[in-house]
Amino acid sequence: MNKALLTYLVWPLVKFLIAFIIVQLIVVAMTWIERRLLGFIQARLGPNRVGPWGLLQGIADPVKLLLKEDILPTSAEKIAYFLGPMLPLIPAFVVFALIPYGPPPAFTVTRVNVGLLLILAITSTAVYGIILGGWASNNKYSLMGGLRSAAQMVSYEVPFGLSIVGVLMITGSLDLVQIVRYQETNAWNFLPQLVACFIFFVSMNAENNRTPFDLPEAESELVAGFHTEYSGMKFAFFMLAEYSMMIVNSCLIVTLFFGGWTFGMFGVGLTTSVLRGMGFFGGILGAAIFFAKVMVFMLVYVWFRATFPRFRFDQLMDLGWKWMIPLALGNIFVTGLFILAGQERLMYWIGLALLGATVFYLGRKPAPRKGIHASRVSEA
C-alpha cells in the first residue's frame, strides 16, 4: 500500500474510530452515571434494576428508544424534521478528529495548526439542528425552545471565544498540541487564567444547554423544548448529540486549561517526554489521564445540574452580555498588561492566591445572621 495513503488516510481513520468508540462508551456510561449521581444527591438511589447496580441501563435505554414508534407530526415540515436530529450529530462527531488524546503523533488523529479555531467553527454549527428541529415540529413550544437555544448559543459563543484568547496570548499558538506542551513546562493554564477558565466553564454549560442554562428545554415552561415532538431514535439522536458536545467541551477545557494528557507542571511529573520514554504504554497512560480528566468535568456537569436552579431568560442574557463578555475582555486586557510587563509568572501566584482565598472562604464558619431572615418570619 502507498505509504502516504497509510499515514494520511488509513491510520487517522483507525484512530478516529477508536476515539469515537471510546467517546460513545462514555456517552452510554453517562446516561447511567448522570441519573445515578443525581439520585444520590437527591437522597434516592436512581436506576438500579437493570443488571448489577443498574449498570445495563445504558443499553436498555437505547433498545427501548429503538423499538419505539417513530412519530411524524402531520403538520411537520418533513425534510427539516428529519434533518433536525442529524445536523447536531455531525459537528459533535467531526470534532473528535481534532482533539489530541495523547502524546503526538501516535495519539492524535490529525494535527491541525489552527485546530482550536477549527473546533470553534465546527461546534458553532450544532445550533442549526436544534433550530431546524424546533421549527420543523410546527409546535409553538418547540419553536420557542429552538429560538431560545439559538439566542443563548449565539450569546455565549462570544465569551466562550473571548475566554480562549487569554490562553492563546500566553501560549502563542492555536495548535492544541502546542498549548498542551506549553502547559507542561509552565503551569496549567487555569492558574494564570483563572478568570478565563471560569468564564469558559460557564459558557460551556450554556453552550450545551445544561442546567442552570437549560432554557431551551425548560420542562416547566416549554414541555421539552425543541425535542417535544421527537420520539424514538430521533430523540435519542438529540441526546447523543448533546452528550457528545458535552464531551467535546470537556475535552476542550482539559486541553486548554488543565494540561491535556500530561500530569505535571514546570516540567516535573508525567510530561510528554516522560510518557514518550515509556513507549506505547506511556501513550496509553497519557490517553487514560486525558479521559480521566474529561470524566471529572462530565461529573461536574452532573453536579451543577443537581445544584443550580434554572435562570430566567433575561437573567441569562444579562449574565452573558453584561458580565461574562466585559469580564472576558478585562481578562484579555490584564493578561496583555502582564505579558507586556514580562511578569507572566506573577499571574500564577495571583491565580493561586484566588484559589486559596476561595478554599478559605468555603472552609470558614458562616457568620450568625443579623436581623430577621425571611425564613424566620414565623418565629418572629
Binding site: R44, H373, V377
Partner: protein
Amino acid sequence: MQVEYPKPSWSQKFLVLDLLEGLKTTFRELFKPKVTVRYPEERNEPTDRFRGMFKFSYDRCIACKLCAVACPIDIIYIDVHDDMIEEGGKKKKVKVLDRYDIDVKRCMFCALCEEACPTKPKSIWLTTKTYELATYDRNDLYFNMQELEYWEDRPRYTGLPEEDEKPRLDETRLLK
C-alpha cells in the same frame, strides 16, 4: 410585619462564592444515607395504627348486620339463619352467620363498618399491617368469611413469578 431580607454584601454580589456554597451542600448530600426502600427485597413495617386490609373474626361476630347497614356502597353481604341451642336446660335462639362477604375491589376503606360494629373488641377492623392487596384478577378481591379471617396465612409477594408459574394466588387461598 416588616421582613428584612439580608442585603447581599459586595462579595456575594460580584463573586460567585455563594454558588460554591451550594455546590458544597450538594456534595455533602452525595454521601448521606438514602431514603429509598427497594420494595420486593426490603419493605417497611407499618406502624401499629396503620390502616390496612380488613380482618374479620367469626367468633366475635354477633351477626347484627350493622356493618352492612353502615356501608355506604353496600358491599358487605350477610346471610343469617336462626338456630335453637340448648343451654342449661333452656332453649335459646341464636343467630348463625352463613355468609359474610366483602367485595374489597369496590371498597374505599372508609372504616364505617368498623365504627358501626357493636362488639368489643371489634369483629371487623382495619388496623392491620397489610397493604399488599394487588391481584392479577379482579375477582380475586371478592373475599368470603374464611378468607377474611385467614388471609394473613397467604404467602407474601416476593417479586414477579417465573415464566411457567401462573401468577395467581388462587391455589394458595385457604378453605376454598
